[in-house]
Structures are given as C-alpha cells and as structure tokens.
Symmetry: C2
Subunit: 225 residues, 2 copies
DNA sequence: ATTATCTATAGATCTATAGATAATGC
DNA sequence: ATTATCTATAGATCTATAGATAATGC
C-alpha cells in the first residue's frame, strides 16, 4: 500500500498508448508535465485566454488527453494555486514562535523573508496566479482567497505592533508581492533583494534603522535554526 | 467646426433607431455607456473572460451594436487604459517642480499622493486594468506598459535619492497600487489612507519620521497651490 | 487487465461583418 | 440624408464526452 504511494513516479516505462509526440522530459509524470505547461501559460497570458488545446500542445498530447488527469480546466488552476501557497503555510508556525520569543519586529522580518522566498522560488513565477481575475472572482477559488486573506491579516497584526498604530496589512503584502513583478521583468530576486524588501517593510511600519538591524539579525538567526 | 467638437454630448434626442431596451442613463453618450459597462466587467472578471455580448447586455443594446463605436474588443480596453493613466500624467510636471524646489523627499510624497489620488478616484477601480494578463502580454497594449514603466522609474529615481542608495521603483509602485487592492475589498480610500501610504513609502525608503513630516507639509502646500 | 493515450465530435460559445430599419434633421 | 441602432449569420473557436487503441504487466 505504501509502496503504491511511493511509486507516484510513474514515468518512464509506464504502460499506455504512446503519445503522438514523445515526451520531452521524462523525469516528470504526465500530470506534472501538464501542470508545468499550464503554469507558464496561465502566468503569462492569463486563465481565460489560455485554451486547453494550447496546454496540450506544449505537453505534446492531444487536447482531450488532459481530461484523463483533470476533470476540467479549473481543476488545473486549483492545483497550481494549492502548490503555490503551501510552502509559506508550512512555515507559518516558525513566525509565530519568533513573535513570542523575540517580538513582532523580528517576526515581521522573518515572515517577509519567508514569503518573498516562496515567491522567489515558485516555478514559472506562479506567485502571480492569485492575482488573476478569475481567482479573485470565481466561487471555486474561494479557499485560496481565504488563505491569502489570513496572510494579509498576519501582516497587519505584526505591522500594527511594530508601528504602534493601525497598519493595513495590504501595504506590507504589496511590498512582498513586488517580488512577482520583479520576476515578470526578468529580474533575479536573490537574498539581498529580499532583505531590501524586508527592510522596506519594517521602514514602512515606522521602524528605525537600528530596530530594523536588530530584527534582521534575530530573524536571520531563527530562520537558519 | 469647433461647435461640432463641442457638441460631443450627443445624447439625448439623438437620431438613430431606438434601442430594444431604452437607455438607463441618458447623461452618458452611447460610447460612454459602453466604456462604463466594459470597465466594470473587465475589472471584476478580466478581459478574456468578458464577452462582447455581456457588455452589450449591460448597456441594453445588441452585441453587434458595439461595433458601431469600437472596431474590436481590444479597442475598448485601450481606451479605458488611456483614460486611467491620463490624470497622473497630467500632473507629472508639478512633481518635477517640487523636486527642483524642495527636494526629492517632498517630490516623492507628492507623487505618491497624486498617483494614489488617481487610483482612488478612478471609476469602477480601473486602476486594476494595467495588471490584467492581456495588458501585460499583448503587443497592442505596449504603449500603456511604457507609460507605467516610466512611472516606476520615477519612483526608483526619487526613492534612491531619499534613501541614499539604490531603491527599486517597483517597491514604491506596489505600495501605491495597494489602493487598488483596498478598493477591491470595498474599502474607502480617503485622504488619510493616502497619507498613510505616502508615509509608508518614505519610510520604506529609509526616511526618518521627521523627514517624512517635513516632506508631507511641503507636498501638501505645493499640491494645494 | 490496466493504463495512458488517441480520434471524432457534439454543443456551446464568441467575434465580427453585412445589410436592413427606425428614428431625427434638413 | 444621417445616425444609431437592429437582425441574421459566417466562421472560428473552445470545452468536455464517448469510445477506440496501443502499449505494458501479470
């Protein structure tokens, strides 16, 4: 049973009728190849403007073959969204811990570093997907909007503590999302760039240069640990 | 000749076959009614996901009647984009003047106030349109991307002066665009909120509380003038 | 037998054009 | 005569389903 789970690397040498064009990359399963192609297309043309035929074409399969893995087009985007938010959610507990032990400034710095890291690493800049109009408006993507709203709340809570006044989490969230815009323009978002964003975020919350320096050092030490 | 230009308020009492449903708002020309309906739909569903039939339906005309005013669907979006950027471009000289007379911090504060003002006032939150995937990717919208890039450059230039080190204009631009996100969530973006954004922007560029206070006062005096 | 593909296609769009028509204005 | 609409429709999609088929695995 667990062996069945482990062998989720089904390619290559799997059974099934051969493709009309052989797969380019055999390290990815069929499902993963579809997600990969769809991610690229959704990110640079949008969801509605991308047809299932285009996705299939990039993979090297026929349009109808997509439906063997996904019951409809929405489901492909849903899965990509889930993959996009997961890495940040997985680390949210660490931020909580930093807040308790070292205060909100260090925690805010840490959260910005984690979140920018997730966005900087996301394959094909999928951090852009949550801002697609369909994700913002359609009922089926509500769960992902909720996750994002929680993150914005966390920014607002931490930021308000740092500033000593009400700070809108959207402000900080948007600073963080500048990573996506930078990547869209082909920039490499490295650790230095992410520290600049974290510094800007604390500055936007009214922290002094010295407070930022301390928060940075603490966050750094904790994230390594 | 000039009278022909002036009488661009063609409704009501214009000739032409009656609509199958009479117009709701006769203070707007047919063209303006189309732009208004399209703006709402493009903002909350996106461009590709909005059909010409839906736009026409909202206006109360038949789908084909749109083509009397616009040669194709793209042209509607192009016009909305032009209307969206115009107010900020119209005031860009004033920012230049502030920079020369009072320094970059005041100018940055002023630019943020102007730009957030434009976004806060844009009908139906059309400040969101530049971030639609089609506008980012399709050839015909290149002019609007160029205008936006210029604005980002201005933020970078002013921000770098304030910080005394290289600051990425995208950071500041994203703080400003948080106005759009706030409006999307139904928030009222008033002058207080805009001052908070300008303050955060200068803080993100490393300005001290006192520098921000001065920049705010100067920008305020100059924008009134 | 199972799996992963394929072919074929139904049915529902969607954009844009052609040409008719119902008003007003002269 | 001019204007702003209408009706009708061509032609090009696009999504999803039904059912066939070519491999491997047992």
């Amino acid at each position: 049973m667990s062996s069945a789970v482990i062998s989720r690397r089904s390619r290559p040498g799997r059974p099934g009728r051969p493709r009309h064009v052989p797969a380019v990359d055999n390290t990815l399963s069929g499902r993963e190849q579809i997600l990969d192609a769809a991610a690229r297309l959704f990110v640079d043309r949008g969801f509605a403007a991308t047809s299932t035929r285009e996705i299939a074409e990039r993979v090297g399969i026929r349009q109808a073959s997509l439906y063997y893995y996904f019951s409809n087009k929405d489901k492909i985007l849903e899965e990509l969204l889930a993959l996009t938010v997961r890495p940040t959610l997985d680390q949210i507990d660490r931020v909580e811990a930093v807040a308790n032990e070292h205060g909100e400034a260090a925690a805010l710095y840490a959260l910005v570093m984690i979140d920018t890291g997730t966005l900087a690493e996301a394959p094909h800049n999928t951090g852009l997907l949550p801002s697609l109009p369909e994700v913002r408006s359609l009922e089926q993507f509500k769960p992902y909007r909720a996750v994002h709203a929680d993150l914005v709340d966390a920014y607002g809570r931490l930021g308000s503590h740092v500033a000593g006044r009400q700070v809108d989490g959207i402000l900080v969230a948007h600073l963080v999302e500048s990573v996506v815009a930078s990547r869209s323009e082909g920039a490499d978002v490295n650790e230095t760039a992410r520290h600049a964003i974290a510094t800007a975020a604390l500055g936007a919350c009214g922290a002094t240069k010295n407070e930022i320096k301390i928060a940075s050092a603490v966050a750094w030490a904790e994230l390594i640990a």
